[in-house]
């Protein structure tokens, strides 16, 4: 039995939920960053699944979604580069990666 669209979406949702939980609950800013990437990839997974299960009139997958996924991967790569650079700079300045200690910007 091949998996249905629902199965893919379920997995995608699960990944997103794990990512969100990580972002909200973990304290290490690197882990939070990785969880953010996880949420992006959850979105990618559902896009690809949609592409696979929404065939066009010619019987081909809808490549729009797949092109969109490439864009997301590219942008995510760039974003990771920037984000990691910020984290490194932050660590150099504050000697910590724990978000609890990074709480200067408040009233």
């Amino acid at each position: 039995m091949s998996p249905s669209l629902g199965d893919y979406l379920f997995v995608s949702g699960l990944l997103f939920a794990i990512g969100l939980a990580g972002v909200l609950l973990r304290r290490n800013i690197l882990i939070i960053f990785m969880c953010l990437e996880l949420m992006l990839n959850a979105a990618n997974l559902s896009l690809v699944a949609f592409s696979r299960y929404n065939l066009t009139d010619l019987g081909l997958p809808n490549f729009n979604a797949q092109v969109f996924v490439f864009f997301i991967i590219t942008v995510a790569a760039a974003e990771v580069a920037v984000g990691l650079a910020i984290i490194v700079a932050l660590y150099r300045a504050r000697r910590t990666t724990h978000v609890e200690d990074l709480n200067r910007m408040k009233f």
Partner: protein
Amino acid sequence: MNVQTLPWIILFAPLLAAIVILFFGKYSKPLSAGLAIFSAALGCALSWYLFLHPTVTESFRIEWMNFSAFWPYHDVPAFRIPIGFILDPISRMMLVVVTSIATLVFIYSLGYMRTEEGYWRYFAGLALFLFSMLGIVLADNFVMMFMFWELVGVSSYILIGHYFGKNSAADAGKQAFIVNRIGDFGFMAGILLLWYATKTIVFSEIQENVAHGLFADNQLYLAVACILVFCGTIGKSAQLPLHVWLPNSMEGPTPVSSLLHAATMVAAGVYMLARIFPILLMAPMARDVIAWVGGITLFVAALMATQQNDIKRILAYSTISQLGYMVLGIGVAPVADVALFHLFTHACFKCLLFLTAGSVIVGMHHEQDIWKMGAIKNKMPATFLCCLAGAAALSAVPFTSGHYSKDLIIAFAWSKPPLFWLALVTAGLTAFYVGRLFFVVFFGPPRSEHAKHCAESPKVMTVPMFLLALAAIGAGWPFIADKFFVLPEVHVEPPFFNAMTLGALVLGLGGAFLLYRNVEKDPISIPFFANRMYIDNLYAQLVKFGQDRVGLVLAWMDRWIIDGAGVRGSGKVAMCAGFALRLLQIGNIQAYAFFFGAGVVILIYLLIR
């Protein structure tokens, strides 16, 4: 030059003079006086020309404002305001009176004001006043008349408040302006009512509409409109209950009192009534009101005049009283010429009386209390003779001008007997207070140092006085009056009429002679009259308790509702909102992420709901 341009020159020469004096007058005294006198004299000459050539009846008209281009109603003619001049017998007569008297007063001012401050300001004000007064005389529609009416108010404000450094003068100017505003409010409402009914503001067109029976089945509307228009007269011509400003306006220089508050400005109200007289004829109810207001005013003002001590205030109350006669004349006589005849003679003799009063005041070193004067007959003989002529005319001694005009009004008042008796008694009172003024000022013992050493005024003051004295005596003689007026016959004359008026005169003058012939101070004292029947006090209290309370409420509203809720309130709201939202800034990145996520969830929920 086209004769049709003459009215334009008469009207605008004083305005031009006023403007030039305003800009350059302060550099040269002769320039300001000369320009003002020249503009008045030019107007005077041209007015006499127009008067002697009654064939000139037309002038250019200008469509000043015409709203037909953006008039939204098809069934209503568009509102338009023309600037047009009316040249009929009464406006010719008024032109002559106004410009002639103005010329004499301007010349007299040369002498009176020679040592006063604000010389150029004074002459600019006089010229502006002449311009506005001529505008009223020439106006052929209500809106134009109303504009010049207000201009007269402004220029009188300037002139009354000439000595604005003195508090009483500044207050008097303000009072004259504000009290006139009250009357003008009614005037404007009346104009609007008449426009609403007839769709025009031009006198002749309204008149046509009324004559064609527009108000035949709506008498009350016309009466209300006419009475509202009459409110303008109540203010400008100082009828009860808005008379308070006129005696107070005596704070201005005496020539101003003479020109504005005796001869011309206050006459504007009566002139306006004469202008709309054909309309008034269709509104008998309104004429009854007018007659009664005039009758009460003339009596009450004469009573107050008997107990005043300031020489100018006596004349001021006498002016109110004589204006009452004119208004009564409008109310009872079959033609407007009766009232205008009295306006004409009154302008001559009251202007003269004020000029003599000014001459006495200058001679007395600006002392105005008649109980500080006395025995100046021989020291100021010219002033004495002129005052004699003016007093005789005012008290209606036979063969002086006042006799003809006043008796005519009293005779017509016979149609309303109560008013007739009021007018007759007041004739006696008039003789009494004039006699009092005359005997106290010129006879008796000298009552102060100034009175012992006063001297006659210069020629520039006495010559205009002599000219006016001739007018005061002769202006009423039938062969002169016939040139100016078409006076009707009195058909129903009261019995023994001449004997009665003569009796009133003799009683009044005789009483004054017996009481005031040779006294140190006033033998009779009636505080009720001396204090002007407490009407001024009543108004002061009304202002205090009415206006000040309203002011308090308004101040409270301004402070707490406009400032408190509106201006400061909006700032407070923004500040409080900022304070509340500031609590969200807790500095934890994950909390921000949570808020963000929650916001997204709420948005999605709202979108797919």
